[in-house]
Every structure is written in structure tokens, then in C-alpha cells.
Symmetry: C2
Subunit: 219 residues, 2 copies
């Protein structure tokens, strides 16, 4: 499917740190691919509520899911606006002054009205997309959802068209006088997420604790 270009609106146009803004769809894709958790913002009784949740995405659509009983999700379902942020911390920027300290990061904020996915085929497909994003390989490896499990799950879809992407990379942006002074170290301390050793479920048969390749070899 053709990926829609980003269509910035007033709220998705980055005003602060314009030099960090990007309107390239490939940058959005990179952030979406690298994240596991998003932060979903909804308005409940006039006040903002931010909730962490897993997501998946495909082409022009971001999917999140939750229990049908979750009141915050129900509110979002009711045609309300949502905001979804995905943020990857890449490093701490140690500047020569407190003021220029910063973080290297890649972030995307998507705005729009969440659509409740009701058509059964799309709902099942959306759950596959979320599962394969969070736990690649699990859709084919594990038991698929039953009708009862499907009924207990809400899936929301959000179009990936109104989005702002910000990326900060590289060394600190210090004042010239502080650079000339030369008495302070400055630079970046990178940070990254690494996978550990798989921890087998204690209920596995004793001779079946070795994790399969899609878990053990996750990149």
C-alpha cells in the first residue's frame, strides 16, 4: 500500500526546536519500528489521561488494543481525539553548561480520532499486527484468539497522517564562550535497549525450557 505523506496541521507542526523536526515519512516509520510501547493520551472528564500501552502498525494505520472493560479506552472509542507518542531515548547530552544539557532521542506524536475496529477480519488482522510488533513470530507459534477472547478485546485504529516527528542526534550545542573556555568535558552518553537471556516459564516441562529462535534470536 502507498504510504500517505505526513500532512502537518497546526498542532502537528513543530514550533519549538524546529531544527529537530522532520517531515519525512521514513523517519516516522523508523520510530514506529523501533518502539514497543506508546503513550496514549485521551481526555476524560475534561482532564488529560496518559496511558502506556503496546502497539503495532502497518502502512497508514497504528493499532492499539485493550480490554473492552477499560473505561479510558471506552472514552477514546467514543469518537474522541487521541494523541499517541512513541519515544526512543538514544543518549544523554552532557553539555558545558547546565542550560544546554539535553537528550538524544527519536520521537513521534500522532494525533487523530481513534476508530474502533469492529469488522472481524480487520480486528483479527490488527491483533496479528500488534502481536508481531511486540513479539515477532508469536502469531504463528502460539494459540490464536478464541471468539470469547476476541470479544473481550477492543482494538483502536489511528491514521498515521497527522504526525510530528522530532529527532535529536549528535553532540551538545554549547555556547562559543563555553567551548573556548575548554575546562569542561562535553559529549554524549549513549543509551540503548538490549534483550537479556530468555527466562523460561516455571510451568514448562523440564525438557522443554530452551527458547525458540524467534525469542532467543530477537534482534
Amino acid at each position: 500500500m502507498t504510504r500517505l505523506p505526513l500532512s502537518p496541521t497546526a498542532r502537528s507542526t513543530v514550533r519549538r526546536g524546529k531544527d529537530r523536526a522532520t517531515s519525512e515519512r521514513t523517519d516516522l516509520d523508523e520510530v514506529l519500528d523501533a518502539g514497543v510501547i506508546c503513550h496514549l493520551g485521551v481526555v476524560v472528564n475534561g482532564a488529560p489521561v496518559v496511558l502506556p500501552t503496546c502497539y503495532g502498525w502497518e502502512d497508514n494505520t497504528l493499532y492499539v488494543h485493550g480490554s473492552t472493560g477499560a473505561s479510558t479506552l471506552r472514552t477514546a472509542i467514543a469518537g474522541a481525539e487521541v494523541s499517541v507518542a512513541i519515544t526512543l531515548l538514544d543518549g544523554i547530552v552532557y553539555a558545558r553548561s547546565v542550560f544546554h544539557h539535553s537528550a538524544n532521542y527519536r520521537s513521534a506524536v500522532v494525533h487523530g480520532r481513534a476508530r474502533l475496529v469492529q469488522e472481524p477480519d480487520e480486528k483479527l488482522h490488527a491483533l496479528e499486527v500488534i502481536t508481531e510488533h511486540v513479539a515477532p513470530g508469536s502469531w504463528d507459534y502460539t494459540r490464536r484468539p478464541t471468539q470469547k477472547e476476541l470479544a473481550g478485546t477492543s482494538v483502536l485504529a489511528l491514521e498515521l497522517t497527522e504526525a510530528s516527528v522530532k529527532i535529536r542526534r549528535g553532540p551538545p550545542g554549547d555556547d562559543e564562550a563555553d567551548v573556548t573556555d575548554g575546562s569542561c568535558w562535553a559529549g554524549v552518553l549513549p543509551v540503548r535497549q538490549v534483550w537479556g537471556e530468555p527466562e523460561p516459564c516455571p510451568l514448562l516441562p523440564p525438557n522443554a525450557t530452551a527458547a525458540p529462535e524467534h525469542v532467543r534470536g530477537r534482534s
Copy 2:
């Protein structure tokens, strides 16, 4: 200072996944200590906006800062309600069924009205708290803010009293039939953030590129 107990209100009382909810103040402190980035939710023109930003905290107060020119922050300053989420992803939970796939995580969501910090001494102290949280050791090592830099920075304070903390640890919670079936591996793939090697700023004098201990030895 005595740390206030958490005082759950309707919106900070966890309804879904009650078994993952904790009302221990020490759990909130653990999440706040471990995070670097928070997601700040505000309502702008009736719609939610979620923004990633750095934070710091001390006793009963969470501090975030931003440029005085940032419109989203100005809106939040105007006495409006905010929601701040801090989330730590600890692992992917590979269950025997798609439905029971999950994530191990520690998360805190704080609600309240943000207070603009205007008193100069508190503002300077808040910036120290944020700096020492994001880059421990930098407050004493680097140049302190000038009056002009202080004037260009807004600091918001949020009381840590209305907060919900959720923690999921441990193996998947599979259905008994899937456990008995025994054909699927199940377990947790842990994930953690690790610091890399410090990357010196290219503008450092060639003989002064070794990072100081507070950067190099960051735990």
C-alpha cells in the same frame, strides 16, 4: 521531608489489572528513580496532546521544564490539569496463547494541576533536581544557568499525591489447558537499558577527550 502517602482518587484508582496495582509510595519512588523521560499529557483546544520530556523529582514534587515559548507548556501552566506517565519496559511476556501475551513493566501515572514555579530560589533548585536526575554530577561540574537562561526556561511542579502505579513481573498467566498442552515454549524475554561508551564532543581539545567519572561510571 516526609513523603506523603498516595491518595488515590477515582481516576488514579486502577480498575483494570487490579492485581498489578500498588499503592506503596516506595514503588512510585522506584519508578521515578529509574526513568529518565516522562510523557506529559495536556489538553489543547479540547484535544489531548502527549509530549515526551525529561523530569526530576524530590520528596513530594515532580518537576518538568521547557522553553517559555512552548505553547503546549504555556497551556499547561494556565492552571490546567496535566497527566504525567513514566514507564519502564522490563520484558516481553511470551505466552502460550496470543491473548495472554503481555509486557513486564513498571509504570506510574500522576495527575494534578501543574504549578508554574516562579520563586527564583525554588526555580533554580528545581533545575538542579532535574539536571541531577537526567545527568547526575552535571550541576556541580558545568556552568550554572545565567539570568537570561533562567528567564528563558519554564519550570512546572506537580505534586506526587494523586498517582497510580502498576507493576507486572514474572511469567505468563496462561490458561490451564494451554499449560497442560505443553507444545509451546513460554517465558519472558527481559529487556534493559544500558549505557554505551561516552562519545566526546568533536570541539573538545584533543588532549581532553576522556570523560569524567560521573559520565563514564554512570550506573
